[in-house]
Each structure stands twice: as C-alpha cells, then as structure tokens.
Amino acid sequence: MQQQWQLASLCSSVPKRNLGGGAIMAEDPQRNFRSAYYEKVGFRGVEEKKSLEILLKDNPLDTEKLITFCQRFPLPSMYRIHVWKVLLGILPPHSDSHSLVTRYRAEQYEDVRGALVTMRFVNDMTPLTDLHLRMFQLENQVLPRCSELSPDDVDEDFLAIGHAMEELVDDPVDCYWLVKNFVSQFHNKFGDSIPHLPKSLEHFLSQEDNALLTQLRSSGCLATLPYSLWFQRCFAGCLPDTSLQRVWDKVISGSCKILVFVAMEILLTYKIMLMGTKPEGVANFLCNMPQENTDAIVTKAIDLWHKYCGTPMHSV
C-alpha cells in the first residue's frame, strides 16, 4: 500500500498531458482495485511496470525520476535495457533524437570495429567480449600495439562485465555501448568509493551480525574475501544473470552501496558454512558460489540496503 502511494506520488509529478498514469491512479482508486492484492500474492512489478511506462512516455525523459524509480523498485525486464541506455547516456532524454543517436552509435561501433579489423587486432573469429575490450581500449587510447599484444594485458574486470552483459543483451552494438558506458560510469562515479567498500562491509556486518564478523576476522577470512569480484566486477560472474541485473539496476541508478549489502547478505546466508571453513576455502567458495537462491539473497540484500541507507526519496 505504501508502495502504491509512493508510486502515485512519483507519478503525480508527471506533466499533465501524460494523464494516462499517476494522476488517474492517484485520483481514481477504481482504476485497479487488484493492485492492493498484487503485493500479497507475490506479483511484483505490476504497478511498477505501469508507472514506468508512464515515465518512459515522457519527452524528454526525466532521468532523475528514472533513477529514483530504479532505486526504489525493481525494473521490469522488458524496459530494462532501454532504461539502462537512458541512464548510462547511450540514449538522450529526447526520444526524437533516439534514432539518430542510435545510428551514430552503430556507425561508431562499426568504425571502431573496422579500424580494429584493419589493424588486424581482431577478426571475425574474435570473441565479442574481446572485440569490445579492444574497442574500449581503442576509444580510451589505451590500445596497445598489436605487436605488443600480450595475454597479460587483458582487463579481466571488463571482460567479466562484458561477458555478463553479453548474456543480458542480444545486440552487440547495444552490448558494447552498455558495457562501455557502464564501466566508464562506474569508474567515474564510484572510482573513489570502491576502495572503501570493504570497510563499509565490515561496518554493516558488525551491526547485523557481530559474531560472524569477529569470527571472520579472527579466522583471517576477512582479508581473503573476493573484494575484486564483488566490488570491481560488480558480481559479474558471481551471480547469475537474473540476479545480477537486479543488482546492476541499483548500480546503474547510482548506488554502489548495494554491492556491500549483497556481499554481506552472501556472507550471512552462508554464515554456517563460512564459519567452519578455512580462509582459502572461504575465498574459493565465495568465488564459486552456488547459483540456487541468489534471487533471495539479492532480495534480502535490497531490503537490507533499504533498511540501512533508506529508500531514496524522489527529488522533485
């Protein structure tokens, strides 16, 4: 119910010409009397989808609202890529220029790819992620010489993210752009705060389960936790795609704290297993985590995140 209200308040700020959404929702409770029961039955996102559609009909798109929405509610998967693109700046807020920008992006992609092909960095057989990596390197002027190309000179983080993104997105152009912008935005925005995330994890863990923290600390597991996997790669390769995209929703919408909570929730979930294992085993286990109930972990993590960081209010 509260969620409903929040949605209504979120959508009420939509300009009046988009009457199809929140205004009616707020004004006419008869619009969908089932909405109160969706939450109870477990259908999440029915109402969110509607409100998101309303938001997306806006022209120009209000990115602030989209960010708020993303942070507060789970994104419907059908709109996820679109929203990501908008939030990552791949698509401009004006929907009129979308086609043009899309074309530009595609051309750029082809140019870069052509150059790479020309320079024989890549060929048709090259994996897409590698291609994307090279393209990214090229665009960031960090592409090494072809002769100087060495297997060590591979950005594993980018590759992992790109691989995950490849799973999520079908179109290679979109995939490239998303990866590129995601990585660059992540580094631009959170480059400074990423080193502090382990400390933050300890802090929240001490509040949530101090015993576990002390146990981890005493057993030395704390140092061996896969921080790079969690905080550099944003759980790419750690969580399955379905769970990962929900985490990335939050990351893309501008919060890196969610990473901490996901990590903490993982620790809490496998607490018993962790407490009886040696540091090496812990690291190994966490790197190759079981993929079963990651959805629940993520849900709990989001709840924890909301609990500690509070639900971000819509800034008008």
Partner: protein
C-alpha cells in the same frame, strides 16, 4: 537392748511427773522406743503399768499405738482380759483404744480378743465389767459393720444374758449399777436393732418366746422395744441381706451411728434427721429438719386427744414484734408436715428452716401447744426450728418483750462470750438434741405465758388438761426462785466466761461451771448435757430474741441455770417436783404412751407426796425411770447423786479431796469424788460402791462422748451441705428473680409488639386509604390530562394557523420592507435629484442672472451697435458665419480625432494581445529551442563521441601506419638504398614544406600515400618489387598520387570505399569551413574533379589492363603532371 528396756521401764514412772517438760520428753522417748521396738516387751510393760497405775500418759501412749504394734497390744489385752483382777482395767483400756478409732480397728474381730470379750460378757458376773464391756461392744459394732453370723449370734446371746441379768439384778444389785447396766443394754439393743433388725428381731422372737424369758421381755426388752420405731429393714430386708458385706460399704462409722439412732424414739438417742431413709447423702438437711418436724407433728396428731385446731388469732399477741412470722412458718410447717410422712416434700424449702427469709420459730410453740395434750409435744418442733434458725436471725424482739431490761442486759453481756467461741459447724445440727433440753426448761415458762397472755387464753381453755394446768401451776410456783437463781447464775457465768473466753470451748464451759453452784453439777455429769452445752452457749445471742418473744422476762441463756435451779428448788423444796423437768422429754419421746405417762406421773406425784425419804424417792423415781428410758434414768440418777451430794455436803461439810477419777479436769468426777468422799467417811463399802459407780459413769460418759463426736463429724458434713444448698438456694432465688424480671420484660415487649402491630395495621390502613385516594387523584389527573391534551391539540391547530398567518404576514412584511427599501432608494434618488434640481435652480438663477447680465450686455451691445451702425453688423455677420464654419470644421475634426483615437486604442489592445501571444510563443519557442538545443547537444555529444572515436581510430591507424612505415624503412636499404633516397627524402620535405597547418592536405597526401600501402596489403609479397616505385612517387606530386590511388582503388576490392568517402567528405567540409589557404583549394578541387572524371572513364575503359604497365604509366604521368602542378 535389755538395758535399754530396763531404762525405758525405769522411765515409765516418770510419766506421772508433774513437770511438763520432763513429761513430754519421757513420753516422746517411750513412744520412740515403742515405735522402734520389734518385740512386745515394752508394750506389755506399758500395759501392765497402765493396769497398775491407770496412768493417763500411759493411756495416751497406748491409744496411739500404730499398725504393727496393735497385735501385741491386743494379745496383751486378751491376756489381761483373762485375768479377773485386771479385767476391768483392760476393758477400760480397750474402750479407750476403740474410741480412738485407730486405722486397724476393723481387724479386731479377727483377734482372739473379741471372742474373749464376748465370752467375758457372757460369763462375767461383775456388773461394772459387764457394763464396760457392753459399751465397748456397742462402740465397736459400727466400726466393724460386717460381723459373721456366728459373731452376731454371740452378740445376741450376750444381749440376752445381759437382759436377763438386768432383770435379775434389778432387784438385787445396787440400783445405780442396774441403771447403768440398763443403759448399756439399752444402747446395745439400739445398736443391734439399728444394724441388724431382722436377725435381732428373729432372735428376740426365738429367745423370748421361751417361757422362762417372758418376764425378762416384759420387764426389760419390751420397754426398750417401745423406744424404737419399726425398722424399714424388717420390711424390705432379710437376715441374709443384713449380713451382706456390701451393705455398709458406703457408710462411715458416724453414718451407722446415725442410722441406728434414726430408728430410736428415745429423744436422747434418736436422731430425726433423714427420716427413715437409708441414704445418708440425699438432702440430709432437708430430711433431718423434716424428720424433726414430721414425727413431732404426727405425735401431736395422733397423740393428742383433742383435734388440733390452729386458730390464727392465737399467735399475734405472743409474737408482737414479728407478727409476720406466725402465718408463713405455720403454713410452711403444716404443709411440710402433711407431706412429710410420704415421699420427699416438693413444697418444702430449706430457706424456711434456715431462716433465709422468715424464721418460723415464733410460730411453732403457738402452733403446737394447742395441738398437743402436753406442751412438750410442740416444743420439740419449736426448738428444733429455733435451734436451726436462730444463728442466722438477729435479735430484734427484745425491746418489745414485757421485761426488756433483763434480756438486753444479758444479751449485751453474753455476746462477747458467744463471739469468742463459735464452733458453729458443730452446733447447728447438734442443737437438734440439745435444744430439746433447752426447751425443756424454756417451755414451761412459755406455757405460763401462754396461759397468762390474754390472746392465748382461749387456746388454753380449749386444751384444758388438768395435768397441764397442774404442771403450769408447778412452774409458776417455781418461777420466782428460778428467776433469782438464774440471775445469780448468769452473773457468775458471765464473769467466768469473760475471764476464760479465749480458752477452748469445752474448757470454758467447764470453767464456767466450776465456780457455779452445785446444782449445775448433776447436769454437767450427764453426757448429753455436755454435748448440748456447746449449742447452748452458741445460741445465746439469739436466745433473747426467741426467749423474749414468748418467755418475756426470762433471759434465754439462763437455760442451764434455770435447768438446775428448778431441780435444786425441787430438791430443796419438794421432791415431788424433781421428775417434772423430764416429763416433757418422756412425753416427747413416747407420744403414744403420753396418756399412760400422764397417769403414771400423777400416780407418782401422789406417791411422791407420800414418800418423805430421799432414798426411797430416788429409788421410786428410778423405778419409774427404768420403765421409761435408761438414759433418763441416768439423768435422774445423776441428779439424785448431785442432790445427795449437796445434802451430804451440807451435812458433813467436809473438805474436798483431790480427784481420783481417770478423767482429769472433769467436773463431774470431781463432784463425784466429793460425793464419794462424803460417803466414804460413812462407809468403806459404800465407798467401793461409789467408786464402781464413778467408774461406770466415766465409762458411760466416754461412750456418750464418743457418740457425740460421731455426731459432730456428721454435723460438720451436713453443715457443709447446708451451706452449699443455701448457696444453691440463693442462686435459685436470684435466678427466679431474674426470670421474673425477664418475664416482666417479655410481657412489656409483647405489649409493645402488639402496640407496634396495631400501629402497623393502622399505618397500613392509612397507606391503603392514601393509595386509593392517590389512585383517584391519578385517575382524575389522567382525565384532566386527556382534556388538556385535546385542548392542546386544538391550540396547536390554532397555533399552526397562527403560524401560517404570521408567515403570511411576514411575507407581507417582507414585501413591504422591500417596498420600503425601494421607496427609500427612490427617496434617496429623489433627494439626489432634488439636490440636482436645486443646483440646477441655482444654476438657472445664476444663468438667469447671467442672462440678465447678458441681456443688459446685449442691450449695451445693441446700444453700441446702434451707435456703430450697419457696418458693424455686416462684419458681425461675416464673423459669425466664419465662426460658425470654423466651429463646424472643428467639430468635424474632433469627431475624426475621436474616431482615430478609438482606432488607436483598439490597435493598442490588439497589439498587446499579439505581444503576449508572441511572448508566449517566444517562450514556447525558447523551450522548444532549449529542447532542440538539448537534443542537438545530445546528438552533438553523440557525434562528438563518434568523432572522438573516429579520431582515436585514425590515431590508431596512423600509429599503425607509422609502424608499418618504420618497418618499411627498415626493409628499404636492402633494395633501393641509393636510387630513391633523394626522392624519398624530398617528398617528405616537400610535404612538410607545404604547410604544417594543412592537416587535411597532409591527410590527403597521407591518404594518397597510404593507397599503395593498402593496395600492397591484399597483394601481398608480389608487390614487394613495385613497392619502391610506389613509395618513391607519392611525395613527388599529389596529382599522381591521387591518380595512383584511384587506380589502386579500382584494382583493390571496394573495402575502403566508405573510408575514402568519409575522407572526402571531411575534406569537403574542411574546405567549406574555409580554413584552407586559397592556393591549395582550387587545385585540390580541380584535381578532384579531374580525378572523378578519370575515375569514371578509367573504370570503364582500362579495367582489364595490366597492372604492371599501368603502374608504370601512372608513374610517368605523375612525373609529367607533377611539373605543371608545381609550376
């Protein structure tokens, strides 16, 4: 041991010492020895000592012998009894021992002593011994109440022998002894009859049915039988039940004594208490008192010849002080007497007898005197009641008596003595017997008073018995001296009693009798009198009261004195009077034989008159007395003895000798000794006789004293019961009073309850009436209410109408008000108009004034005009017309101006609206512009990104190119080191010399340069030979390079077409932006055009041409063309 024994025996004589200290020590020593002794030597010695000396101290020691020593004592006594000489002494000792009632007394029958005693009684012929033995047996019998049949038979045999002995010896033996013997048998008879009536009667029947015993029966036993009533055991019991050991189990010795006394009719022996009941414990006081009354009344009832009539008028004069006493006690007594013989009296109350409420003492004499033929019959009851009740009453009646001073005086004197000695407990019931004696003395005088008193006269007359009258006369004769004697005696006794008031009661009695005159002595020797003296002195305080009531002038405590004086007077004056005081006793004791007695007495009186000799008179008196009661006979004997003594004293006037009698301090013995001495002086034989007499008297005295003690014990118990009963009675009375009070309260409460109920009923009625009233009122009110309701409805209807009306009126009012306001408005308007009109009027007046002024002016002007003439008018007219025209023109122009103004205003507003629209539009445009800007910025950013990417790509490509170049240059020295060294060097220099800013041209050059490179790539190694040429040519001239590139492009696959186009576009845009120098642009454009045209034609014509030749041609052309270009 033997030494000790002897020493103790030596001590024995010391017991007779006069030193009290020594005596005490000796006694103590002997007793200790006796106690410690195991054998019987000392005891035997002691007994022997006593038998020799009859020492009182030894007696005391022997009587106190304890349990283990009694056997030898009894054995010793048995031995002694066997010897003729000491038989009497041992019997005396035995009597003493038995009287002490030692705890082992019940074992006596088991010892041989008892059969020996009986045997002795059967065989002995000494009268003194017999008498002593009889008394011992009589005393012993109640202490051993369960004898065997054999023993009983022996006892009966003893009785039979003694009776026969008495009968035989009555003639032979000395009269005094016979009297004593008679008395002993008499008491034994009583004891046996009282304890074992069936056995005894059967024995008597058997024994005296024999011929030889008939005389004995007639002479001895029959008179004794006359002195007993029929025993209830004869009816209820059998011989065997009498001997039942359980029969006497709950009885004590004194109970048995009293039981025996109960069946006796002898006033001295009898105890009337408890009637014939065998139960000693049930209400003894009630029964005793009733037993005292009942029989007496009965006696009077069937003993008196006249029918007892009790006129109520008799008593008041006699009982002046307490008239109320008369009626109530009388009725009480009558009631009690009526029921007395039957079962226990329910109406009887001890209070009446105990004097709790009203002492009935005054009534009884008056009641009984008329009833009985003799005065004595009434006396018993009166005295009995008197004796019982006096202790609790107070002397009130004294002042009212005819002779008040004497009683008063006596009272006052006597009270200290009585107060000092008050063993009341003994006295209360003892008085039953003793008071009889007292009243013996008192009653005659009472009867005197009766006769003297006026009120009683009638009564006396109705009873006129000549004998009574004679008796009364006798008393009257005695009156004077008796009074005097009484006075003197009283004074003497008072002095003595005052002196010795602190002493023991009995001692005082004796001491107060010792100094008294000799006539007292015969009384005191009598044991009964000794027993009676205690109550006598006790009752003295009350005596005045009772005595004064009906004796008047006689002091009550003078009973003793008056008793003796009378006798003394008889002795002195006439012997015929001697028996007189005892007559009432006999009369009382033998009511049946009253008439006989009276007759006999008259006969005796006649005889007495005839007999002058004292002794003869004595004997006769004795003979007559024997016929009556042995106890009386004893009294008589004693009196005679005293008389004799007096006489002999007077005759001999011998000095008295110290007493020899065994009882020290006993006055009787003392006197007796005197008597004996006097006799002894005459005759030794007589002395012996007298000694035995004394002995007998002493024995008798001890016996009676023992009896008295038994009674005393009993009295104490009964008194306690009386007290308890009294307390209970008081409690009952108080309870009754409380009950009555509560009854009264209950009555009061009931009354109040009834009142309350009535009140309640009344209240209920009232409430009912009020309720009905209220209901009526309610109904009325209901009716009224309905009426009111109907009226209310009517009124409401009216009210509605009124309301409607008022509404209507209000509407009218509203309209009226509206009109009013309208009117007011109109009025205000009118007033405004009025003001306007006034102003107009003023204006009008002002204008009229102006008009006037103008008129005047006009006149003046006309005047002037007249003066001016017609020219002026013409001008005027012209002027007027011109003015008029001007005015019209101005009017028109003003209208035009107004219209214009309107139009302008209209236009301004239009323009303003347009302006706002425009502004809005501008805003929209601005927003749109913003949007568009934003959009374009975004797009620009995208394209910027693209550009950046492109740039990066280009850089990368350049870097790649440079790298390849460097590779090439590394390879070149091997092939065309020198040939193309200069060209190769100039080319770049030329390119550098053109302009570093011409980046596009360089780019073009670069593009031209790198065409061979590109073409080389697909061709691979085959071009390696031609590559020096290619590498040499491009720097030389751009035209050639362009041609070559086109050529190579044609040859190569269309891979790089797009890129070329893009390059072209960029070059074009660069040229269009106008940042190139003017020199290069026309050439490049011309070259381009040429190149395009060449491209077309070459692509059409020379496609299948040989690559090698073409390249050469191209090179040539390049070489040629290069020059004009450069030029």
């Amino acid at each position: 041991m033997a030494k000790e024994q002897t020493s103790v025996f030596d001590l024995l004589p010391l017991l007779e010492s006069t030193d009290l200290q020594q005596l005490q020590q000796t006694r103590q020593l002997v007793e200790d020895h006796l106690r410690a002794e195991k054998g019987s030597v000392l005891l035997n010695g002691l007994v022997d000592y006593y038998l020799e000396s009859s020492s009182s101290q030894a007696l005391l020691i022997l009587t106190a012998v304890g349990e283990p020593q009694h056997k030898p004592l009894l054995e010793k006594l048995n031995d002694c009894l066997g010897r003729q000489t000491c038989r009497l002494a041992s019997l005396t000792l035995l009597a003493h021992v038995i009287r002490r009632q030692p705890p082992w007394i019940h074992t006596i029958p088991r010892f041989p002593l008892f059969p020996a005693l009986l045997k002795c009684l059967k065989t002995d012929s000494d009268t003194v011994v017999l008498i002593t033995g009889v008394l011992v047996v009589t005393t012993l019998l109640p202490m051993i109440p369960q004898p065997s049949r054999h023993l009983l038979d022996e006892l009966f045999d003893v009785f039979g022998r003694l009776a026969r002995w008495t009968h035989r010896s009555s003639g032979s033996s000395p009269s005094v002894l016979s009297i004593h013997l008679h008395a002993g048998i008499y008491s034994l008879f009583h004891r046996l009859y009282g304890m074992y009536p069936c056995n005894f009667v059967s024995y008597l029947r058997v024994h005296y049915s024999m011929k030889e015993n008939v005389d004995t029966f007639e002479e001895v036993v029959k008179p004794m039988l006359e002195h007993v009533r029929i025993h209830p055991e004869l009816v209820t019991g059998t011989k065997d039940t009498e001997l039942d050991p359980t029969r006497w189990r709950s009885f004590e010795t004194h109970d048995i004594v009293v039981e025996c006394a109960k069946v006796s009719l002898d006033p001295k022996e009898a105890s009337w208490e408890e009637g014939f009941s065998n139960m000693p414990d049930v209400l003894p006081v009630h029964l005793s008192s009733r037993a005292l009354e009942g029989p007496s009344l009965d006696h009077s009832a069937y003993g008196s010849p006249c029918v007892p009539v009790r006129p109520p008028g008799v008593t008041p004069p006699r009982l002046g002080p307490a008239p109320s006493y008369t009626s109530t006690p009388l009725t009480a007594i009558q009631q009690s007497s009526a029921v007395a013989m039957g079962t226990q009296d329910s109406g009887w109350s001890p209070a009446l007898h105990c004097g709790m409420t009203t002492p009935p003492r005054g009534a009884s004499p008056t009641n009984h005197v008329p009833q009985s033929t003799s005065n004595l019959s009434g006396r018993v009851s009166s005295t009995s009641v008197d004796g019982k009740l006096t202790p609790l009453t107070t002397p009130v009646t004294g002042p009212l008596s005819p002779h008040p001073p004497q009683p008063h005086e006596a009272e006052l004197r006597n009270q200290p003595a009585s107060m000092a000695q008050c063993p009341q407990d003994d006295a209360v019931i003892d008085s039953c017997q003793s008071s009889v004696l007292q009243n013996n003395m008192r009653e005659p005088s009472a009867s005197e008073n009766l006769t003297c008193s006026s009120g009683a006269g009638e009564q006396e007359k109705s009873l006129t018995l000549p004998e009574v009258c004679a008796f009364v006369r006798d008393q009257e004769e005695e009156e004077g001296p008796r009074e005097e004697d009484a006075m003197t005696e009283e004074l003497l006794s008072l002095t003595d009693s005052d002196a010795s008031s602190t002493l023991h009661r009995r001692d005082t009695m004796f001491s107060h009798k010792r100094p008294s005159k000799a006539r007292v002595k015969p009384n005191s020797t009598e044991p009964v009198c000794v027993g009676a003296d205690t109550p006598n002195s006790l009752f003295t305080p009350e005596r005045p009261d009772s005595g004064a009531a009906y004796e008047g002038q006689r002091p009550p405590w003078s009973t003793w004195p008056c008793f003796t004086p009378s006798e003394s007077s008889w002795c002195d004056e006439a012997t015929q009077h001697a028996p007189l005081p005892y007559e009432p006793l006999f009369d009382l004791a033998l009511p049946k034989a009253a008439e006989l007695f009276v007759e006999r007495r008259t006969g005796e009186a006649r005889r007495r008159g005839g007999v002058a000799d004292n002794s003869a008179g004595d004997e006769q008196a004795m003979g007559s007395a024997v016929a009556n009661s042995p106890l009386e006979m004893l009294d008589l004997l004693i009196q005679q003895g005293s008389a004799n003594h007096d006489r002999k004293l007077r005759r001999l006037s011998m000095p008295s000798r110290p007493a020899e009698g065994p009882a020290p301090g006993k006055q009787q013995q003392h006197q007796q000794q005197h008597q004996q001495q006097s006799v002894k002086s005459k005759d030794v034989e007589e002395l012996q006789h007298l000694r035995s007499q004394v002995q007998l008297l002493h024995t008798q005295l001890q016996f009676e004293r023992h009896k008295r003690e038994q009674h005393a014990i009993r009295n104490r118990r009964l008194l306690r019961r009386v007290i308890n009963a009294t307390a209970l009675q008081e409690q009952n009375v108080s309870m009754k009073e409380q009950l009555q009070l509560q009854d009264v309260e209950l009555q009061g409460l009931r009354g109040s309850l009834q009142q309350e109920q009535q009140h309640l009923l009344h209240l209920q009625e009232e409430t009912q009436t009020s309720v009905t009233q209220l209901q009526e009122q309610l109904a009325q009110l209901h009716r009224e209410c309905s009426q009111y309701a109907s009226t209310m409805q009517e009124l409401q209807g009216e009210l509605e109408e009124r309301e409607e009306h008022t509404a209507h009126l209000e509407a009218e009012l509203q309209t009226a008000r509206k009109n009013l306001t309208n009117m007011e408005l109109l009025l205000s308007q009118l007033s405004l108009k009025l003001d306007c009109s006034e102003r107009l009027e003023e204006q009008v007046s002002f204008l009229s004034q102006q008009l006037l002024l103008l008129g005047e002016n006009h006149q003046l002007c006309l005047h002037k005009l007249d003066r001016l003439g017609p020219s002026a008018t013409k001008e005027m007219r012209m002027l007027q017309s011109s003015w008029r025209k001007e005015c019209d023109r101005a009017r028109v122009t003003s209208v035009q101006q107004g219209q214009r103004l309107d139009g302008a205003v209209q236009r301004v507003s239009d323009l303003e609206a347009a302006l706002s629209r425009k502004e809005q539009l501008i805003l929209q445009q601005k927003k749109l512009l913003e949007d568009v800007k934003l959009q374009s910025r975004e797009q620009l950013r995208a394209s910027e990104g693209r550009y950046q990417a492109q740039k990066q790509v280009t850089q990368a490509l350049e870097a790649e190119l440079l790298k390849i170049y460097s590779q090439l240059e590394m390879e070149r020295p091997t092939n065309h080191n020198r040939d193309h060294a200069s060209n190769h060097l100039t080319g770049p220099t030329q390119a550098d010399a053109h302009s570093p800013t011409k980046t596009r041209a360089n780019g073009c050059g670069g593009g031209a340069i790198d065409t061979p490179l590109r073409s080389e790539r697909p061709r691979g190694v085959q071009d390696v030979a031609a590559s020096p040429l290619l590498s040499a040519s491009p720097p030389s001239c751009s035209l050639l390079g362009r041609r070559a590139r086109q050529l190579s492009r044609n040859m190569s696959d269309g891979l790089y077409d797009d890129e070329d186009e893009a390059l072209l576009e960029s070059s074009q845009s660069n040229t269009s932006s106008g940042c190139h120098c003017g020199e290069a642009s026309p050439t490049s454009s011309g070259a381009q055009a040429e190149a395009q045209s060449c491209d077309h034609c070459e692509s059409c014509d020379q496609q299948p041409a040989n690559e090698g030749t073409r390249r050469l041609q191209d090179l040539h052309i390049m070489d040629y063309n290069e020059l004009p270009d450069l030029s």
